[in-house]
């Protein structure tokens, strides 16, 4: 066990709709990331992946509201701090964020260098421009980005370059935790590869100590991250190492999710994909029992009434289902 860098304890956040209805998008999420490790978060659209990222960053602007829970980075609780403190002492150095749509993340009216100046000035108001430029150039060179990018506007960069620039800008202060929210989903394969390579480099060179990687592309997670955690309807349904999660998923939802991956390999042409029927539950009124029960092939009546806790098993794995691990494995084997 390495040193725990990030710990999230029972984080609950909600959206408040126009009609004052509460939508519990992140409902009691807890996990830990150790130093030098990366954790992938998988799940279908609307399961709360991006909300989890925003909640961890402290983006509590209406309609998103904080309910309870702690986010502890390196022994320091960062939840519930006022925005100015967060800006001056947390963002960039403790935790940093790569947005979902990095294409539009950069203000098109400013040069790239001004974003870096903004980030550095927030922590060191006295930093002088030539110093910042030197620092930025050194970091950009190390990450394989051309130096002239600094004096360009966002519109002059290609999609992949923009995404890599965003990553370089958000990690300029070597944050302890990097949250990457679908950093490669809008890119072509080549750019995707470069982005992934860059994130690996960041980890290897120690610029970031841990990473939370959010995506809906499971094969990518298997290649990039150490651990994978599957979210469903605002809750974590299963957690394990990447290998275990892909080859031995326990929870019926993870199982279904892994079964729906299309792998471009020989012999897979013509094989049918298994889809999970139905739609996720309405989080305005989450079901009392298992949230996946409505769509679960193995659901029993009691699944709908029992509140199901996170059950640990194996080496640091956990899952959220009424059935035991052995029962589930047996069911899958007989299919």
């Amino acid at each position: 066990m390495g040193k725990v860098i990030l710990e999230v304890r029972d984080l609950k956040t909600k959206y408040v709709t126009r009609f004052r209805e509460d939508v519990y998008a992140v409902d009691g999420v807890s996990f830990k990331i150790e130093e030098g490790k990366s954790l992938g978060v998988a799940g279908e659209s609307g399961c709360g992946k991006s909300t989890l990222a925003l909640s961890m960053m402290g983006y509590y602007f209406p309609p998103l509201h904080y309910i309870s829970g702690d986010i502890i980075i390196d022994g320091k609780n960062i939840s519930g701090l006022d925005p100015d403190t967060v800006r001056k002492s947390i963002l960039g150095t403790e935790i940093s964020y790569i947005p979902q749509a990095a294409m539009n993340a950069l203000n098109p009216t400013q040069k790239i260098i001004s974003f870096l100046e903004d980030v550095i000035h927030a922590h060191d108001a006295k930093a002088d421009k030539s110093e910042i430029r030197e620092r930025a150039e050194a970091r950009f060179a190390e990450l394989g980005l051309p130096r002239n990018v600094l004096d360009k506007h966002a519109v002059e960069l290609s999609g992949g370059m923009k995404q890599r620039t965003v990553i370089a800008v958000s990690t300029i202060l070597s944050p302890k935790v990097l949250i990457a929210d679908e950093p490669s989903s809008a890119l072509d394969v080549t750019s995707q590869k470069m982005v992934i390579k860059m994130m690996r480099e960041l980890m290897e060179k120690g610029y970031i100590k841990s990473m939370l990687f959010i995506t809906h592309e499971l094969p990518l997670l298997y290649n990039v991250t150490d651990d994978i955690m599957v979210m469903y309807a605002g809750q974590i349904v299963e957690r394990g190492t990447a290998r275990e999660m892909v080859f031995d998923p326990v929870h019926p939802y993870s199982h279904g999710l892994m079964g729906s991956i299309l792998v471009p390999e020989a012999g897979t042409r013509g094989s049918t994909l298994t889809a999970i029927p139905g739609t996720p539950p309405n989080l305005k009124k989450p079901p009392q029992g298992c949230r996946f029960a409505e769509r679960c092939r193995y659901a029993k009546d009691e699944c709908r009434y029992h509140t199901i806790a996170d059950k640990p098993f194996g080496e640091g794995r956990s899952y959220r289902c009424l059935m035991s691990v052995d029962e589930l494995r047996e069911v899958y084997r007989n299919e």
């Binding site: 964020y97 947005p99 749509a101 539009n104 993340a105 950069l106 203000n107 400013q110």
Partner: protein, 414 residues
């Protein structure tokens, strides 16, 4: 920035408008250098002197005269002095006296005069002619004889209770205008108070443009601030601001303007006060359109990220939202300036403009022209150049606006 400017000046519409406006501004700057002085100074006692070159007869008489031998000068002078009515009267008299005029051409004034001087006899009585008519012919005869006489005008000068001959003007004397002192060239004549219309117009254009700029700035600032706040903050702030804006929208702006101007009173109404009042009543459309633009911008990703990184409201608005709507705001500002100038003209035409004693404005000039019936007595120079100037200013500003619109809005490009 450089590229934007190049693109903007590449638009022929913008360029045309800009050149017209620049020409107006240049005239405003250069003309007073050549013709300094108070534009409201009354230079003559007459009202509505026609456009032309004026000099004092006294000055002209004492200027060294020259004799020009122009071949038809005398004939032209006589032709000018004998009106068509006089000619008709002469022919009428010949007819009554049964003198044959068939050989004389009515347009040949020399021959007609010869015939008249030969035959006219005041003692002849014609039956059926009234005494008044006879006196008319006597007066006509007197005038006609004067035209043919070789009189000399004496200009006398009083010295020690004695008149001394100063100059002698004969009918063949001419004066070189450039040697006469105090020549007034009035390309647009004078207005009802005997003031140089061109000088007044140049000064008035300047004042009106300043009024337009102040009104435009006030309106754009208010509209921009409220629009940005309503659009970006949203929620209750949006509701309150839009409530106020809607109230101001449904009240007819011009009526409000008239009432405010009226209640301020003539004495307090300087040009800048009128400009601010115009600005205060015309910000609503800017506020509404800025708000709608901002609403479409406030959920852009980079705005959300700016929020996420803890920037202040002011900074987000200035760095992340304002640059997007800057071109739009500039266009709205140009339109506000144009409508400010027009509003001032309308207000002044009704007599509710700035006070009349300090500085002329385009609207005041029209007001004076209207009050002193320039339009009914045919003094076109008192109001037509003013109308033309107003038209040119708003035309050029609107042209610039359309040009900018085409540059900044790609869907309008051809």
């Amino acid at each position: 920035m450089k590229n934007t400017l190049r693109q903007v000046f590449h638009s022929s519409k913008f360029l045309t408008g800009f050149l017209i406006f620049a020409a107006i501004l240049l005239t405003m700057w250069i003309y007073p250098l050549f013709n300094p002085g108070n534009p409201l100074e009354m230079i003559g006692v007459g009202t509505f002197a026609q456009p032309g070159t004026y000099f004092s007869l006294y000055d002209a008489a004492t200027t060294r005269t020259e004799t020009l031998r122009l071949p038809d000068a005398d004939e032209k002078r006589i032709t000018n002095l004998v009106s068509d009515a006089d000619r008709a009267a002469m022919i009428e008299w010949f007819g009554l006296m049964e003198i044959d005029v068939s050989e004389v051409d009515a347009t040949d004034i020399d021959a007609l005069l010869d015939l008249w001087l030969e035959h006219y006899d005041p003692s002849v009585k014609i039956k059926g002619m009234t005494q008044a008519r006879r006196n008319f012919f006597k007066r006509l005869d007197k005038n006609l004889r004067q035209i043919r006489s070789a009189d000399t005008l004496l200009v006398m000068h009083q010295e020690d209770e004695e008149l001394v001959e100063k100059a002698r003007i004969t009918k063949t004397d001419y004066v070189n205008v450039s040697e006469v002192a105090n020549v007034k060239r009035l390309p647009l004549g004078t207005d009802n108070f005997g003031r140089d219309v061109l000088k007044e117009l140049v000064s008035a254009t300047g004042t009106s443009i300043v009024i337009g700029l102040i009104a435009g700035t006030v309106a754009t600032l208010i509209g921009l601030t409220l629009g940005l706040l309503a659009g970006y903050v949203g929620g209750l702030a949006d509701d309150i601001i839009m409530f106020i804006t809607n109230i101001f929208t449904v009240i007819p702006g011009f009526v409000l303007l008239i009432l405010i101007s009226y209640s301020i009173g003539q004495d307090q109404r300087g040009a800048s006060v009128v400009a601010i009042v115009i600005g205060l009543t015309s910000w609503t459309w800017t506020a509404r359109s800025v708000r709608s633009q901002v609403i479409s911008l406030r959920n852009r990703d980079h705005v959300n990220l700016s929020k996420l990184s803890g920037h202040s409201l002011f900074r987000i608005i200035v760095t992340d939202i304002l640059p997007y709507i800057a071109s739009y705001v500039v266009m709205a500002f140009i339109l506000q300036v144009s409508s400010g100038i027009l509003a001032e003209a309308q207000l002044s035409l009704l007599g509710l403009g700035p006070k009349t004693t300090v500085t002329p404005t385009l609207g005041l000039m029209m007001n004076w022209a209207m009050l002193y019936s320039a339009h009914t007595n045919g003094s076109w120079w008192a109001y037509f150049p003013v109308i033309l100037t107003i038209t040119l200013i708003s035309f050029s500003l609107n042209l610039m606006n359309t040009g900018l619109d085409q540059v900044f809005n790609p869907t309008l490009r051809d």
